[in-house]
Subunit: 661 residues, 2 copies
């Protein structure tokens, strides 16, 4: 009896300590340093014994985040062929969360039974095949008036031409849509300034609907599309019924960007196979790498998307595989699409914060080329063009080109700061080039300095660096090779995301972050206070798929097992430290629908759920209701249990599923 | 022509820069600081403006890792219900790599088509069901003479009672074995001092083979086993044909540890349901959390594994589901199994570095209890025991207990340093207790100090802290709750892995690492120079499954497509920047076996491979040959491409798979 009392006492203490831990666990906080005299002498000893240079010391102090202090920025990075999104705190460069998007992830209970996540993933099926992986490339935060608003994040899957929507209230994927006409995208996702549309461009051209056509019929039958996915902000979902696409030639469209302010209403995409090369090295043809790099110039695609939306709404489209498509002919007739020559094989097209200029970085040209929207509009008005084989106007290069700046080898992608500078990644130079965003005078666009990075930088991301109002301060170099930078982990190395201080006169590399959970392509960096994330779900019994109360919500005392023939429905609750019911008795052949409601409301009171011998892994956050289904196809005795170490009696939080023969 | 020359030049430069980047990209290195006078004044300004305390400054300087400097230790952490292993550098606490183990991972090409990984994962199937997730708990590095040797890592899956082997030459999973008798493990993996066996214990008892039996027949029919998986170090694989298990009562065995030095030959496991409670809160029974915590004492299981191995080799076993099992009766008759009472619901049993003492932390008892192996052996010799209901000797508590130290609320797990101290996690106190590992005098075992951690620490891991030769210096607190520690990421929070400096007189928390890619349970920390990882595979055409040359290796010039009826075999190579062949022409209904050899040998010259519309994602490291199979069940035009940004012309590294109707 005495022992039972002690046990009860301990349990009460446990509960109290868990509730209170957010508030009362601070030890007495030492005062921050105020002057040189305050610097601990031990600091010098440490720095000396570890061989730190003065630059290292500064970098350490700029990036270190004391316990409980929050990072200033979130970096939302694509995970590359992990198919996910990685959330990183800046300046500490710590991974705060891996968000499952296209690939199942057991820890988050995504794609391992939960009906909610299966429904989302099934939205991305291809020809009935359950695609359960992806290749995420370009995240795009939702924008209001051209600035990040912190509400939603979009991300593409290059591999199967899909786009996903993530809700930043709970940092969870809510929707995946599959483009019905293409099998590969790359120039996505990019949003229009008020997130009216999410722009997505084809990479590798195929016949629309990826139907079969011999490669010899490439020019005739293969095409790309630029798809404008309509976003319903109220519902927080892409609305395919309000979306449309524009047919484009099979020129392998690459990165895109939306115009803003001065260029609002326009969108821009690069291309890099205007040669329409079709490869076939094994047949003695030039390989793709050479074939698509033969011409001096490719074409910047310039879309008048506002006008295109009107043309779509006026019904001047052809429905292809369920998607309204504006044909090239209609685009030409309505003045929706123009080309501007751009030096060969460009990668990024990036619009300056004021919207006046488009910066194109051509990876085989040492210069960036700057176009001016007023010159583009003037050239269109003056019809200063010739026609490409598809009848699309190619604007006169000299008429639309505003300036060129020689930066170095392999320029790929450009971001901006708050002091009038642009930053361009140089893949071959392994460097970041800082240069001035000039004005009317082309000579005012000039290289300022370069700093080496380690190694082979792809994209870069500056703080809010692609909005109308960049913050400056931080820039992250997304380096593709790490080689000797980190302790060895075998032949598959991490990549190296380097944080660079751009607040001062000179760039300074502050931190090397190994990326060993994916291969990020692009990232966006947003001020942390713009995101209003939930700490727990708004009410107990919440369905994160619909962001509303679940019809299967089960409150304490309502737990039950309902049987109708061999159809069984389980209504379970989870709370520290038990799952109710603790016995789920079934018969072989039963089909079971199983709902679990985490009735806790305390922040961090997450319960996981796994069921031995089945592919069931759930994460049930405070207030959440999750459902899954199984067939009891083999008799036996199985254990289910909580997988989050939620309390001292967590191991006891289990039950038996008994399937009678 | 001029342009083609420029292109060629650029490609040469690209290749040169990639090869050279590991050596030549250092900027002029500033001298390290040597004295207080060298400290940059800017450091003070930074510290002051960021509100850093003297402790923060010291911590920043102790954990910061300058670009290109390697971490001193690897921390191998389980990923919890991610089913993976997470490799973290210490002291920087940066994630170096996520190793896919039980759960497919697209980025690493694990479980997304590659025949090698599918074969490994299929080793863990349960009743023919492809289990593609897990709940990793306790990693164990291979040992030689009780010390980590850096060759292999083992990890369990609690959810389906499986064990995996990871080779630390390439940091890849090589084998998964499924225990045929149990469906849930927890006390695993733990190795014997020369890695003769990998120890695994049941958690939730079921009838052996998880057959059906009503819960009312619990004491009669439910059982646990302790399995001793034999490890063939030469082959680097578990050898099931040399493995055996020992039947134990259905007492819910928990953590285990192997004896060493003074206790070599023994193994120890805790238990926490000697009540044999069967739950059923919904029927008015005590819930498991209360039912399993009723008694004052549970039983430390003491196994003479060396003698058990002899008994197994002598054939005194019963084969159950293909596994030789030593029955409880045989264990008792042969003197293989003893119990020692231990305060209720213990978690960790941890053997001191000299092997003389076993430390048991009982989560509902504020003391740790220390047992001495000589006292255990003496009590056995003197037959100071009574019998449990299964006939197993329960040694006299006072005869085997050596000391008890009151540490605080919720002690779970203990590690050791090189100065004679032990460190125990206190879940309910949210603290780490430091105490003296005493000697013969029970009074010499004493609490020294406690330091708070944030919050609710589960396991902890000190540098080589469970070996015969702990290093001291660093300790990581694996905290389960983070609450307010990090910028919000919605209702599913990261956990908080805190690095603690244990080199000085007082413990100091140095760093908060958010763990947002899994929920680590336990971790082991090994000196980095003990691991001899490969930078690339030993020769071109390597099969990582067999760690030998692949029969499907394809050299440059040997690429081909072979057709035999509707059976097609593709032999492809990858090299910067093309895949050969670039056209794979198929007919609907073909079955395709596709091999790709990365013919590169340069470190980091990894190529990925994905195929649109199919669940194929490969990572082909330098020298590796990977194979996958698909059914060409729908006609169409599909793109395949390299998913690692390997060169400036990476986007051009693609091909078309054309399936004719």
């Amino acid at each position: 009896m005495k022992r039972i009392l002690i046990l009860s006492l301990i349990l009460v203490i446990a509960a109290a300590s868990l509730v209170a831990c957010g508030r009362n666990r601070e030890s007495a906080t030492p005062e921050p340093v105020a002057s040189t005299g305050d610097l601990p002498e031990s600091a010098m000893q440490i720095a000396s014994s570890r061989g730190l240079t003065p630059n290292d010391i500064n970098a350490a102090l700029k990036t270190y985040m004391p316990s409980g202090k929050w990072d200033e920025y979130y970096l939302f990075a694509s995970g590359g062929h992990s198919g996910q999104v990685i959330v990183i705190g800046v300046p500490s460069m710590r991974i705060l969360k891996n968000i499952a998007v296209f690939t199942p992830e057991a820890w988050q209970g995504y794609g391992y039974g939960s009906r909610e996540s299966e429904e989302i993933l099934n939205g991305g099926n291809v020809d009935g095949r359950k695609i359960r992986m992806g290749d995420t490339h370009h995240p795009a935060l939702s924008e209001t008036a051209g600035d990040y608003d912190g509400q939603y994040l979009f991300i593409n899957d290059k591999n199967s031409a899909r786009v996903a929507v993530i809700d930043l209230r709970d940092f969870e994927t809510k929707q995946i849509v599959k483009d019905p006409n293409i099998i590969s995208n790359h120039g996505s996702t990019f949003v229009t300034p008020d997130t009216e549309y999410i722009v997505q461009g084809t990479q590798y051209a195929t016949p629309l609907g990826w139907e079969y056509a011999p490669i010899e019929e490439y020019a005739e039958k293969y095409r790309g599309v630029i798809t404008f996915w309509a976003f319903d902000r109220e519902k927080g979902r892409i609305d395919p019924s309000q979306s449309f696409a524009m047919e484009v030639p099979p020129y392998w469209q690459d990165l895109c960007d939306s115009g803003k302010l001065a260029s609002d209403g326009w969108a821009f995409c690069n291309s890099f196979n205007t040669e329409m090369a079709t490869g076939g090295i094994e047949k003695g043809n030039p390989p793709f790498e050479a074939g698509v790099s033969q011409r001096d110039m490719d074409y910047l695609h310039i879309f008048n998307w506002k006008k295109a939306a009107e043309v779509y709404k006026a019904g001047k489209t052809e429905e292809i595989n369920g998607m309204p498509v504006i044909s090239i002919e209609t685009s030409v007739a309505e003045g929706l699409l123009y080309f501007a020559p751009e030096p060969k094989s460009p990668h990024g097209v990036d619009v300056t914060p004021d919207g006046k200029y488009m910066v194109v970085a051509g990876k085989l040209d040492p210069q960036v080329t700057i176009y001016a929207i007023d010159k583009i509009e003037a050239a269109i008005a003056a019809k200063q063009w010739e026609l490409d084989p598809f009848g699309i106007p190619i604007l006169d290069f000299d008429a639309v080109k505003h300036a060129q700046v020689e930066l170095g080898l392999g320029p790929l992608h450009t971001q901006f700061d708050n002091k009038g500078f642009a930053y361009t990644s140089l893949f071959l130079d392994s460097a970041v080039a800082k240069w001035t965003v000039g004005g009317d005078d082309p000579a005012s666009w000039q290289l300022v300095e370069k700093t080496p990075v380690q190694y082979n930088i792809g994209h870069l991301s500056a703080a809010e660096g692609d909005t109308v109002s960049p913050d400056g301060g931080y820039l992250v170099a997304l380096n593709k090779w790490a080689v000797d930078r980190f302790a060895p982990v075998g032949p598959l190395l991490p990549q190296n995301e380097q944080l660079i201080d751009i607040s001062g006169e000179h760039m300074q590399v502050l931190y090397d972050m190994p990326m060993g959970v994916g291969e990020p392509h692009y990232a966006q960096m947003i001020k942390a206070d713009k995101i209003q994330a939930w700490n727990s779900y708004p009410e107990v019994g919440w369905d994160p798929l619909t962001q509303s109360k679940s019809p299967h919500a089960t409150m304490l005392g309502e737990e039950r097992i309902e049987r109708n023939g061999n159809q069984v429905e389980v209504f379970m609750t989870s709370v520290r430290s038990h799952l109710t019911p603790e016995h789920v008795e079934l018969k072989k052949g039963d089909h079971v629908v199983w709902h679990i409601t985490n009735v806790e409301t305390a922040q961090d009171a997450v319960h996981g759920f796994q069921l031995g011998g089945y592919n069931i892994s759930l994460s049930i956050e405070p207030g959440e209701t999750v459902s899954f289904e199984i067939d009891a196809d083999q008799d036996g005795t199985y254990a289910y249990y909580c997988t989050e170490f939620c309390s001292a009696l967590h191991l006891e939080m289990m039950g038996y599923m008994l399937i009678e023969p």
